[in-house]
Amino acid sequence: MGEEEGGDPGALFEARALTVRFGGITALEDVSVSIAAGEVLGVIGPNGAGKTTLFNVMCGFTRPHSGTMAWEGRTLTHMRAHRLAGMGIARTLQGVGLFGELTVLENVVAGAERFRRTGLVSAVLGLPRADRDERQLRERALAALAELGCEDVAGRHPTTLPFPIQKRVALARALVAEPRLLLLDEPAGGLGADDLGDLTERIRALRGTTAVMLVEHRMDLVMSVCDRIVVLDFGSVIAEGPPAAIGRDPRVLEAYLGQEPGSGDSRGASAPGETQGASAPGGAAA
């Protein structure tokens, strides 16, 4: 980690040596993460490890004290949230973050904002081309809702819908922007087994076309969809690799279970139940 001159040329997005401090607390320390186009990357770690802080830096909500980011090889010192959608980055929020007083359709149309072509003058004068523009956005939104099987609730208000449906609408709002990188912040939170299976399929279907960065506590989901996993603990990357290797990594087990890495016996004992054990702290958090 640290000095990476030019970084990884093949990476779609790259964070280089990010450090974030809140007062005396270091939330991220020298964190470097990269994701390739079409890759599904899991970001896991115990509570307070810095996962959401990493997302917030990537979205421009938190400014890093040091470090840079690169999008498609171009270096950016900081991100701006409202620019992400235009760049091709979409993010879902923990919880749902839907607009409560807008209909489901309007919520998703808002997500398609980057495809709007007409400006204020057309809007104020009510010109037909502003209408055509709106119709085009609405068609995109309806298609995104249909893709997720939510077109029948297009006219409803999100607060009247069951939580798993709200989560789907939030995903539709992110996907309608046709992102090249999708940041999912705990997409499985509050979902039952059926909906989780559906989400798993959904993420798998994105692989190859849309890069997905997944912050998630549900280990079953992370292990089954991710190409690669980055493990954060106390603001630092402690492990990185394919799911199978991460599941066996003693440092990861230590971070989750608080065991001494040296005590070989207990490590061996916990190995068969590793995914189960690892999901326990996450379960308590969700």
Binding site: A90, F99, A110, A123, V124, D131
Partner: protein, 350 residues
């Protein structure tokens, strides 16, 4: 039967989807209704109509700001003062014609709104209320401070607008004033109707509901909020300019803090976020004080009681109205309409 009804609904929806057609139709109907009303009403009632129309302008802008973009302003009375003094100076001192003077007053107020709006994007809730309150309290004092320009306590007097000679000499001044104010109100109605229906209206509501989610959708939260402020300030400026034309006077007494407060009351009472609600609010602002005065005078009470009676009745009306219609008069009308429709449907079904 139901198939025909369905087809009719589709047809209607198709015409209704054209924002321009809807907006023009709305403006035309409003203009025709105002024309007929002004012809039927007495001179005094025409003056009240003109007052209601400039109040509609400022209330429509304020309801977009507060109802749609979720920002509160206690400073709209002061923004009206900017427009009023601007129009008074341009018409009275510079001898500008009516339309360019009103357009300039609107533009000047929009610029003030831009500054206020830029500050407002950094403030939330009570802090924004406080900042706009300071604006409302402080601005009228400028009239005293620079009394050579703004005429001090007496304000600026302008000549009454001359009706074009083509309309005949019999046209009462009040009716002509009502037409001028009506033209302003129809323009405001048309533009705001289009804006509210457009992507910008949706952007304002999205920003109001969740700023973080809105920015992730690619919306520039501060810009959307400032836009709402500028639009609503422009409406307030036009309203102020029209006030000068209608009353032939711009004086600090007309733009006290109480004006800003009653504007906010009126949009809440009318139905927050609704342009029709703004019209209700304007009617309340104009008619309620004179009604309460009439009611107070109809009882032969001592002057001490009767002079306080209008205020008491006003308060009572507000409390009762908000209890009866928590989402404003327009909310009540909508709920009533829905109930009526349900009743008709159940009758037809049975």
């Amino acid at each position: 039967m139901s198939a025909i009804a369905a087809r009719a609904r589709v047809g209607r929806a198709r015409i209704g989807e054209l924002t321009l057609a809807r907006g023009l139709l709305l403006a035309l109907v409003a203009a025709a209704a105002l024309f007929v009303a002004s012809e039927l009403l007495s001179s005094f009632a025409d003056l009240e109509l003109a007052e209601g129309l400039y109040f509609f302008c400022v209330l429509a802008g304020l309801t977009v700001l507060t109802g749609l973009s979720g920002q509160i302003s206690l400073g709209h009375g002061a923004l009206m003062a900017v427009g009023a003094y601007g129009a008074a100076l341009l018409i009275g001192e510079q001898h500008w014609a009516l339309v360019p003077a009103l357009a300039a007053a609107t533009a000047i107020t929009a610029v003030v709104g831009l500054l206020l709006g830029a500050a407002a994007t950094r403030l939330r809730g009570p802090y924004l209320a406080g900042a706009t309150l300071a604006f409302a309290v402080g601005l009228p004092a400028l009239a005293d401070k620079y009394s050579s320009t703004f005429g001090g306590e007496n304000g600026l007097v302008v000549n009454p607008p001359n009706p074009p000679s083509g309309l005949g000499s019999s046209l009462p001044l009040e009716r002509w004033e009502a037409w001028i104010a009506g033209a302003g109100a129809v323009i405001v109605l048309f533009t705001l109707h289009n804006l509210v229906r457009s992507g910008y209206g949706r952007a304002m509501r999205a920003v109001r509901d969740d700023e973080i989610a809105a920015s992730l959708c690619g919306l520039r939260v501060a810009r959307v909020q400032t836009l709402a402020f500028v639009v609503s300030a422009a409406c307030a400026g036009l309203a102020g300019g029209l006030l000068t034309v209608v009353l032939q006077l711009a004086s600090p007494g007309a733009f006290q803090l109480s004006l800003s407060l009653s504007l906010l009351t009126a949009i809440v009472l009318g139905g927050l976020g609704s342009l029709v609600g703004a019209a209700w609010g304007a009617a309340v602002l104009v008619l309620l004080p004179s009604w309460t005065r009439d009611i107070a005078n109809s009882f032969s009470l001592s002057t001490k009681v009767s002079s306080n009676m209008p205020l008491a009745i006003y308060g009572l009306v507000l409390v009762v109205a908000m209890l009866a219609w928590p989402s404003g008069i327009q909310g009540g009308v909508r709920a009533g309409g829905a109930r009526l429709r349900a009743l008709v449907r159940s009758r037809r079904g049975g």
